[in-house]
Every structure is written in structure tokens, then in C-alpha cells.
């Protein structure tokens, strides 16, 4: 809360990496097939900037929608499981088993169900992001201290008050961990969803670049995906620093 980690170290590292990529890679004569220099990559990115911006936005929307729905439902399912153990015992193993299905196999079915729509991508992003949030919510609510709960009850607190004033704040640090995992998974889900066919999106550009072996293009898209993944993650970290700064005990 009070100690604000300095940004100097990470920014300095980023500058060093960018500089090395820009100058060192051509200087060392590295085969561009393995790693093109950053200048080549930037030039390629600029040449397709309108497609890139449209694709970035589209994938961002899919990721955000999938993550929002996934985290809301994941949280709700987690709460229900935490308070009704019989449901957890009945359904959690099925969810775990479902999560082990490779997303590629699952994605094919989703595209057959929903067609090549944005909805199909959102559903895949949702599917990948809700599970970590569910598990984090269950584990977070399990850490609620019995003594504190008894204290609340002795003050005459209702179940609702115990949930809002004690259980939820206790669980929030772990739920934040689940959300950070969920948002990364959501991006992966959206990109994989786009592999099954669409016209706009970073995943679409990526699969095209793969077919035509446009190596600099692939690197453009890797950087774009990294930026797209970092933004929501950074937002969550800010939320955490500002509102969920206490640690689980």
C-alpha cells in the first residue's frame, strides 16, 4: 500500500532488450529466419497498420468479453461451491476433467455450434478464464478464519453480513490471483478461437503469417499479443494495489 515499487528497473530492462533487438541482432548477423531485427519487424508492422489495429481491437473485445463473463460466472460458481460442499464434490471433478480437454479439440466443437462468429471466440475465452477464477474463489473462501466468523456471529451478524464484511475481503487477494491467470487464459482462448477461421483478429493474422512463412509478420503479432496481454493484466495489478493490498493470512 505505502511502498510503491519503482518503475526504473523494468523500464531500463525493456530499453536494453529493445536496443539489443534493434542493433545487436543485425550486427551479429543472425539469420532473419530465426530472429529478424526489430527495425524489420517495425517496418512490417507499419505496412499492415490498419489490419493490425482492427485485429488488435477485435481480439481485445473477444478477450475482454470472455474474461468479464468468465470471471463473473467463475466467481458465482466458486461462491456456490464454497457454501454448498455437496455441489463442489459433485461438479468440481467434472469441471476439472473438462479443463483437461485440449482447447483445440474443444474449439472445433464450439465453432460448429456457434459458427464463425465473435460469439464462438468469446465462448472459448470464457471457457478458459472461468475455471481459475472458480478455483481461486473456492480456495479464498475456505481461508476464512473461524474465530473471526464467531466474533461476527457474537455481534449478531447475519450470513449476508458475514459474507460481505468478512468472507469476501478475506478471499479477495486469492480471487485477484485467479483473475490474473484468467485474463491471460482468456487471450489465449480468443486467439485459438480465431484460428478456426475468421477475417479479423490477431489470431487470423497469425495463422496467415504462418501459412506464408512471413517471419517478421509473426514477430509483429507476437509483440502485439504481448501488449494486448499486458494491458488487462496491468489494470488488474493496479486494482489490486489500490483496493486489494492486504495479504491472505
Amino acid at each position: 500500500m505505502e511502498e510503491r515499487p519503482s518503475l526504473i528497473a523494468p523500464v531500463a530492462t525493456a530499453i536494453v532488450v529493445v536496443a539489443a533487438w534493434w542493433f545487436l541482432v543485425p550486427l551479429l548477423g543472425i539469420n532473419p529466419r530465426y530472429l529478424p531485427s526489430l527495425s524489420t519487424v517495425v517496418a512490417d508492422g507499419l505496412s499492415i497498420r490498419s489490419d493490425l489495429v482492427a485485429g488488435f481491437w477485435r481480439t481485445f473485445v473477444e478477450t475482454a468479453l470472455g474474461f468479464l463473463v468468465g470471471s463473473l460466472i467463475g466467481f458465482a460458481v466458486g461462491v456456490v461451491f464454497a457454501y454448498i460442499p455437496i455441489l463442489e464434490r459433485a461438479f468440481l471433478p467434472i469441471l476439472v476433467a473438462a479443463q483437461t480437454i485440449p482447447v483445440i479439440a474443444f474449439g472445433a466443437i464450439v465453432v460448429i455450434w456457434f459458427g464463425n462468429t465473435i460469439l464462438a471466440k468469446v465462448v472459448i475465452a470464457f471457457y478458459l478464464s472461468f475455471f481459475p477464477v472458480t478455483v481461486a474463489t473456492i480456495r479464498g473462501l475456505e481461508t476464512v478464519d473461524r474465530d473471526r466468523e464467531n466474533l461476527m456471529r457474537s455481534f449478531g451478524a447475519s450470513g449476508r453480513q458475514i459474507f460481505l464484511k468478512l468472507a469476501l475481503p478475506t478471499a479477495l487477494p486469492l480471487i485477484m490471483v485467479g483473475l490474473k491467470i484468467g485474463v491471460s487464459f482468456s487471450l489465449a482462448g480468443a486467439i485459438v478461437g480465431e484460428f478456426f477461421g475468421d477475417t479479423v483478429g490477431l489470431g487470423v493474422l497469425l495463422i496467415q503469417a504462418l501459412y506464408f512463412e512471413q517471419v517478421p509478420r509473426i514477430w509483429v503479432l507476437i509483440v502485439a499479443c504481448a501488449i494486448l496481454g499486458t494491458i488487462p493484466y496491468a489494470l488488474l495489478v493496479l486494482v489490486e494495489r489500490r483496493w486489494v493490498w492486504w495479504r491472505a493470512e
Binding site: 500500500m1 474465530d147 464467531n150 457474537s154 455481534f155 449478531g156 475481503p169 492486504w246
Partner: protein
Amino acid sequence: MPAEGLLALRNVWKRFHSGGTETVALHDVDFVIEPGQFVTLIGPSGCGKSTLFNIIAGLEEPDGDGSVLFQGQPQRHRDLLGKVSFMPQKDLLFPWRTVLDNAALALEIEGMPRKAARQKAAALFPEFGLQGFEKHYPRQLSGGMRQRVALMRTFLFERELLLLDEPFGALDALTRSMMQRWLLEIWARHRRTVLFITHDIDEAIFLGDRVIVMSARPGTVRCDERVDLPRPRSGEVMLTPQFLDVKRRLLAIVEEESRKTFSASA
């Protein structure tokens, strides 16, 4: 029905069953606390103090053969929840709440609007020696201060009976004796009924109008001794012959009971 004081325990038993064996935690516990009294309760560890504490707080139910009466009314399971100001051994402050909001917790639960609850709690800060710390978080406070915040939270839950379970048990000796004197001052001003659980004989005699000594398990009331030391009491009182006399008698009983616990577990 005759006057039953503020709290009356009548033939209270508590037996726990696990795997076919029965453990008797409390065995025919019987005592009455009069309104305004400061009663301390001591006993060897494992004598069922916490079980008794939970029963009086309404968190556990005694077995069917006894009864707990509060203001003359028999109490069933959970009836006592919300009727007794309860302070457990650990401070149990909420790390995400400021000191002020921790103190106001019980008021909020009672339905007081947050602003009014904060105002009411803030008024007590000088008396509890916490002025200027309203906006701090619990982890920024020392153990003694945290304990005072917890006590303030309990105090603000204005009930006739205050139930304190070794509130100073985790403090160093010096802080502890300061807190004891300070608690007596607060009590003199607010005059609530107090049941104070401790395992420190000096503390029990110094604070109490009455000291109840529990026996080794199964816990029952081994003796119930009036302490007629004049009030207000200062630290000096611990050196008077009268104090030492009471201490000598209680010490003999507590030691005898502790030995039983020790040989039973050895």
C-alpha cells in the same frame, strides 16, 4: 422465580463424543454473576475454559441437563448471540479495515450507518489511548494497541455483559500491567458486568470482585472467592498482606488442579 443475577449457569455440562469415546469438558458448572460485578475466572489449561466461554457467548450449546439463564431467561442455542460483548484471546482485527473501522465493526453490524458508527467510535479514541491512529491499519500497531482496538470494538457493542478471554495473555508483563490498570479505570467509569478469563492469578485477584477457580478436566467450579480489596486499586495493592493471603490460598488450589492435569496427561 428468584432473582438470578445477570447471568446464571445451572448444572452446565458439556460432553464431546468422538470415535466412541466420551470426553467430559464441563462437569456441573454452577455460578451466578450479579450485575456490575467484575468476575475473574482462572483454571489450569485444558479445564474447559474456552468451552465455557463459547457457551456464554452463545457459540456452543451446553448439554441438555443444565441451563444458562440471562437476565432470568433460559437461553437455548444461539439465543445469546448478539447479547454478550465478546472479546476472544486474539485481537482478530480485520487487516483491510482502518483502526477506526475495526472499532466500529459491531455498530455497523447492528445497522448503524457507517458515518454515525465512525463518529461514535472516534469519540472513544482518546480514552483508549489511540487518538491519532484512526486512519492506521492494524499491522501498523503494536500488540498492546491492537488489543485496545479489539477491546474498544467490544466496548462499543454495548451489552450488559462483557466477556473477555485472556485479553492480555499475549502481551509482555509491563504492557500487561498497564493494560490491567487502564481496564479498571475504564470499568469504573462505564460499570459493565465483566467476566474475565485468565490463567494469571495476580491478574485475577487484582482485577476481580470475585475469583472463580476451575478444576482440572472435567471442569467444574472448584472455589469461588470474594476479593474485598478496596477500589480504586493501584499496583501497590499486590504487595498488601490481604492480597498475598488470597493469592496463597488460590495458588494452592490452582497448583493442585494443575498437578492433576499434568499427571493425567503424563
